[in-house]
């Protein structure tokens, strides 16, 4: 736009163009400053995690003090692996379960829709509005009664219910994009259900599955309230392990930063790798 204007403009217009350019440089600079400010706490966390405990706790900060993996040594020394494995189990299994349940449901809500399918869709959404804390007590009492407390499968079930509505909404919005004529044409051509699924539905739904899986994984990995109340020593997840640092005192800053970084790594990796999928997932498929 600016270049076209400048080419045909007199000196006055050119001056305005120069002003615009300067404003543009300022805005770009502001964007960079804000982005760096937002990422800075994370950078600080990683930076601190590689210092010795005494350097990490110095005030004013010793930014350039020597590199140390003491924090990581004490974190891994406190044996966090079982909790990380538990988190992995809960997130991966519940994500798979969500997809197994959500795919057929999304099909029945879009391609061959049941009667009153929009009511069903809104039922799924409405469960997302219900605060999990309201269901916490009965779940706890029930699990206690049937000796299901401190069992990772309990979390798998709960995380599945937490994420299923999101996945149903997302996958439905992808499936709803397949034009009805295309499906009819396939039927006229005598394509069976399997061929329709493979050749028409699969290509459309794949990106949707990726987004849904990403977001389900992140939300399950992050969950704290259920995990804290319903697990003990055996099924403890990584976020619950982190709560051990809530009331810590003394020299532990490098360790807490190392722990926070390690536990966040899977989410950071998944989120960076699939940034565009993140938007779709977070908006339940409303925004592409």
């Amino acid at each position: 736009m600016t270049t076209v204007k400048e080419a045909q403009a007199g000196p006055q217009m050119r001056a305005a163009g120069g002003k615009k350019k300067r404003a543009g440089v300022l805005l770009t600079g502001a964007t960079w400053i804000i982005s760096v400010l937002f990422v800075f706490p994370v950078v600080w966390m990683i930076w601190t995690s590689f210092h010795s405990e005494t350097d990490a706790a110095s005030n004013p900060p010793k930014v350039l003090s020597s590199f140390s993996v003491q924090g990581y040594k004490s974190f891994f020394g406190s044996d966090p692996w079982p909790t990380i494995l538990n988190s992995l189990t809960a997130s991966v299994v519940s994500t798979l379960l969500v997809l197994c349940l959500a795919l057929p449901a999304a099909y029945a809500l879009s391609i061959r829709p049941v009667k009153r399918w929009s009511d069903v869709l809104f039922f799924f959404l409405s469960t997302k509005f219900m605060p999990v804390v309201a269901a916490l007590l009965p779940v706890y009492l029930f699990a206690e009664k049937v000796h299901f407390l401190d069992n990772i499968w309990l979390l798998v079930i709960l995380y599945t219910s937490m994420n299923l509505p999101i996945a149903v909404w997302m996958l439905r919005s992808f499936l709803a994009e397949i034009p009805a004529e295309m499906l009819e044409a396939a039927q006229v051509d005598g394509a069976g259900l399997l061929r329709t699924l493979r050749e028409i539905i699969a290509p459309v739904i794949m990106p949707g599955i990726a987004s849904a899986a990403l977001i389900c994984f992140i939300f399950s990995w992050n969950e704290l309230l259920f995990a804290r109340v319903l697990t003990g020593t055996r099924a403890e997840t990584a976020p619950v392990f982190l709560t051990g640092f809530v009331t810590s005192q003394g020299l532990f800053l490098a360790q807490v930063c190392a722990a926070s970084f390690v536990v966040s790594l899977p989410v950071l990796a998944a989120g960076f790798a699939a940034q565009d999928k993140l938007v779709q997932g977070l908006s339940m498929g409303a925004v592409r």
Binding site: P138, S173, A176, F245, A286
Partner: protein, 316 residues
């Protein structure tokens, strides 16, 4: 594209040219329902039954410390929640926290989305940097703010104060002085990227030809922003605000980690957690849970309409 509103009338045509017998139609309806049922039944069992149980328990005297004193309580639990100073404070904190975080992160998110919508070199990198806070596990983020940034002795904020102002620099205890603001700031840091992502997607879905035409007609940037960009963004603003509110109303991690519910920062989820987990007062905890659900239903009734309008538009 089928959409929430028009399709119930449009669908019968798809059922085929021949009119099938009633029995066949019935089995056809069940064949349609079959793929839906596992998910639907699962959701009803896992989410609705516990809620009914909560509703039931909320009308009972039930404290695990007094196992003999169990029985029907009428509306006593609701009375005690609504007259309890802590519970009322929890309601106010929940509202303040949610409104504060949603509003500030929406405004910041919108500003940053507008900045990132411009073309400049390294835009993708800047966007990636911006979303990083959202990819930190919430407990880890809260620990980071509590220990590495806010802490009065060795936190970064006071460290910078000392570095800039010298040894006599003020060293405030950020969390004790402003506990609620401390929580809000850390949450705004995490949720601004969320708002930004949705709003940026909204900005990029703007029909640019119309904007270009307006520019040629001599519309100023401000006019374009208020008359074209904002109306287009409205539904994205509503959607991101609504989704953000759903998650922040339920926030437990930050309150639990940063203040452990102390200093008047206990919100409803924390209050319920404590009533049930530490005080073992199941009746009162359930009544508070029911109140939260009623509150959310009120908000959701307004909100659902919004969501509906967005999905209608988007799925076309």
């Amino acid at each position: 594209m089928s959409s929430a509103v028009e399709s119930p009338t449009a669908k019968p045509a798809a059922e085929g040219p021949k009119k099938p017998s009633r029995a066949l139609a019935k089995s056809g309806a069940w064949a349609r329902r079959a793929p839906l049922l596992p998910a639907l039944v699962f959701m009803i069992i896992v989410t609705q039954i516990p809620f009914l149980a909560t509703l039931f328990i909320s009308f009972m005297h039930w404290n695990a410390y007094y196992p003999d004193d169990r029985g029907f309580a009428g509306i006593d639990n609701f009375k005690s929640v609504l007259t309890d100073v802590d519970a009322r404070s929890a309601i106010l904190v929940t509202i303040g926290l949610t409104v504060g975080v949603v509003l500030v992160s929406l405004v910041l998110g919108l500003a940053i989305a507008l900045l990132l919508d411009r073309k400049f070199r390294g835009r993708g990198v800047a966007r990636t940097l911006m979303i990083t806070p959202f990819l930190i596990v919430p407990v880890a983020a809260a620990l980071l703010w509590k220990h590495a940034l806010y802490n009065a002795q060795y936190g970064l904020f006071n460290g910078v104060l000392k570095f800039v102002l010298g040894d006599n620099a003020p060293q405030p205890d950020w969390i004790s002085n402003h506990p609620l603001i401390a929580i809000i700031v850390s949450l705004v840091w995490q949720w601004t990227p969320f708002m930004m992502l949705i709003l940026l997607a909204g900005l990029q879905s703007r029909p640019m030809d119309v904007v270009e035409a307006a520019k040629i007609d001599g519309a100023s940037s401000w006019q374009i922003f208020t008359n074209m960009t904002l109306p287009h963004l409205r539904q994205y603003i509503e959607l991101s605000g609504l989704l953000g509110a759903i998650y922040i109303v339920q926030n437990f991690d930050s309150v639990f980690t940063i203040t452990s519910g102390g200093l008047g920062t206990a919100n409803l989820p924390y209050y319920i957690y404590q009533t049930f987990y530490s005080a073992h007062d199941y009746g009162t905890a359930s009544a508070a849970g029911v109140i939260v659900v009623i509150g959310t239903i009120i908000i959701a009734t307004f909100a659902l309409r919004t969501v509906l309008s967005l999905f209608r538009e988007e799925t076309r």
